[in-house]
Amino acid sequence: MTARGDIRLRSGNQMVVEGALRAGCRFFSGYPITPASEIYREMTLRLQARGDVAIGAPDEISALCYCIGASQRGVKAMTATSGPGWALMIEAFQYALMTETPVVVAVVQRLGPSTGGATQGAQGDVLLAEFATSGGYTVPVFAPSTPGECFALTVQAFNWAEALRTPVVLLSDKEVGMTYEALDLGALPDVPVVARPQAVGDGYRAVAFTAPDEVPPFAPVGGPLKVTLTGSAHNKDGWLRKNDPETLDVLRHLEAKIAARAGDLALVTEDLDADADTLVVSYGITARAAREAVRLARAAGRRVSFVGLLTLFPVPADALRAAVGPAKRVVVAEENLGGLYRRVLAGALPGVELAGVNKLGGMIRPAEIVEAL
């Protein structure tokens, strides 16, 4: 056990690796892409050093498919990429959602669209992460803003992937992933590790649930219980069916099991002022500038609250509504055009004036947020 006070310089990407290993990840497959390559490299060295599996894939589609196959065999798996690679993974990601296969995809955002800027940060894949899935399904998306949060949220991402049998996105960016920061490795949060619910005994069905929000117990491919998996719409036995009531129940269940746990999934950091007239909301790297902006504004006599979103989806709507309090105005700071997450909040916070601080090609500065307050 590392002693408290063991302060090291660690990048966000390195702490994603530490989190994955703490969570019990034994299978990684990656394809090189800046700014996520450090996760690929370090996972490869660390997993190989202990005899677990790290495979270089010939493309991002292969990388995620290898992980899905490994997870269906019962092994915790992760891949890491950036926007262009994420775009390629989306079909396989949906397959993981449909087959209730736990898997974690770390998406380290960079400037887009297209090749964009490989070594430039951005928060442009926020909605592409959540709405990559056809049909209105909720995919858990976590957004760390520090190396320490990278560690804790990677463990959470694995835990929720396992507990809910779902793919999960860990969404950071170049500035979070590739910036080194002094971190006390002895004081990392002790997040308990969760394993997927295992099926036992007779009467196993591929998609067993009574209430739609139950998570069906998992049986590994190649294990004693015969497994039937398919990316096609299927009944509770896992057989392809078209629009029979049970099949539609299964489709609704895929959403219900996550939506029902939205409250438990909601992770935020708060710095609230009960008399605030304005609430600043941010996430990822910009949350750090936003906290600084709140500090500066308060020093100038303003009454301002702050919420940093560690969970982007499901939207922590209850926490946000509570945080608004008497504030008339919510300012959402994020590094993209038009305010991608602000558009989502417009639905979650009706009747509140929403303003945005947005920027492209560079980190938002605290002063730019202060100006908007």
């Binding site: 302060i7 010939p58 493309d59 269906q72 910036t179 491919v221």
Partner: protein, 441 residues
Amino acid sequence: MTFLAQRPMPYCRGCGHGLVARRLDEALGRLGLDPGRVVLTTDIGCVGLVDPLFPAVHTVHTIHGRSTAVAAGAVLADALCAEGGLTNIVMLGDGGATIGLLHLTQAALMNVDLTVLLHNNMLFGMTGGQHSALTPEGFATSTTLEGNWVPALDMEQILRGSHGGFFARQLATDRELADVIAEAIAFPGFALVEILELCTGFGVPLNELDGKALRATAEAEGKQFGVRIRRTDRRPYHALYRERFPVRAAGPPPATRAAPARAFAHRLTRALGVIVAGSAGERVQTAAAVLAQAAVLSGLCCVQKNDYPVTVGSGFSLSEVKLAPEPILYTGIDAADAVLIASADGLREVKGRRDLERLAPAGVVIVDASLAGELPPGRALAAPLRSTLTADTAALGAVALLVARTGVLERDALLAAVDALGGKDAGALRAAVERGSTLTG
């Protein structure tokens, strides 16, 4: 025993897919495999309707073309993270082989221990008879009504080029197909059996061709039948992997040296932003890392941000180091307290970023003496960094000079940081710290 369900085949009358399913059943029975240790991984297309025909084995119906990759992940996880011994058989069509070709070649290159049954009816059947990359020249499909004018991929040559261990080409009607499938499954490594069929829905109506002519058509293309590749010189991927990477108890994270017991003093009362700029490959980020590590050893909070063009080894290299007595929120440096410029590349980048215009009041600029003429007089401290030190240690020398001039950290903190970072050139870096501390402008 039989693996095949007693139920009607879901295929069109005369379709070869049903024959392949029967031959697979015979092969599995002949091999005496435990159905609980057998996985059928199926692709999209008519071939993907096979799952319910094999109720005792595991079935994984995947997405178009990706069956081989999903199966490879399962096989490797089974062999390396579980008990091993899984038999995984991929069932895909020529359409799946077209879109998923890279997964096939990669599995062959790696020699992943799985078997692929490529049902080649020379067109996309389920979607209306469109041509694939395996449609022969002259073969009519719904999208090449006058006959395909592009030759077909030769999977044998693809497999040879991918160092595949086992390849066979058969007709679905061949009597020996079950034997060949059994041999492919038993083969320790990647095995692919290409099975030629006619699609009765689209291939037969559009072409003057019957089953007997199928072999002749393929042979006219130069394709040969039977087991064509049988290599015993390659071991499966998982065996090589395990030999190279034996199972070891998870140890502590590597590359962490014990933190020095001694803490150093600092003279910071607020955050200090330092920009170190130079040329790629000239240890600019190392110089910044020494400063950052020294800050840690002095009990400060610290962030280090590196920037470089997409080509790692040419052009500029720049690091931003922010040190502070309090936790750092915003990681950027909007108004630097110090800008250290070790080369012309670094100066160009700093000018482009306008770091000098944005310098904090009382900010310090240290520049290599060779570049002094490119800055307004009196603006910067010009020091003989590159001539007194080396190109590779000029940036670290500038860091040492900054520390000596401002006294924000102890020089010994820099030396301890060099030791903490380790590396084979620690001696040269220590020397640079010592020389840099004594430089004068």
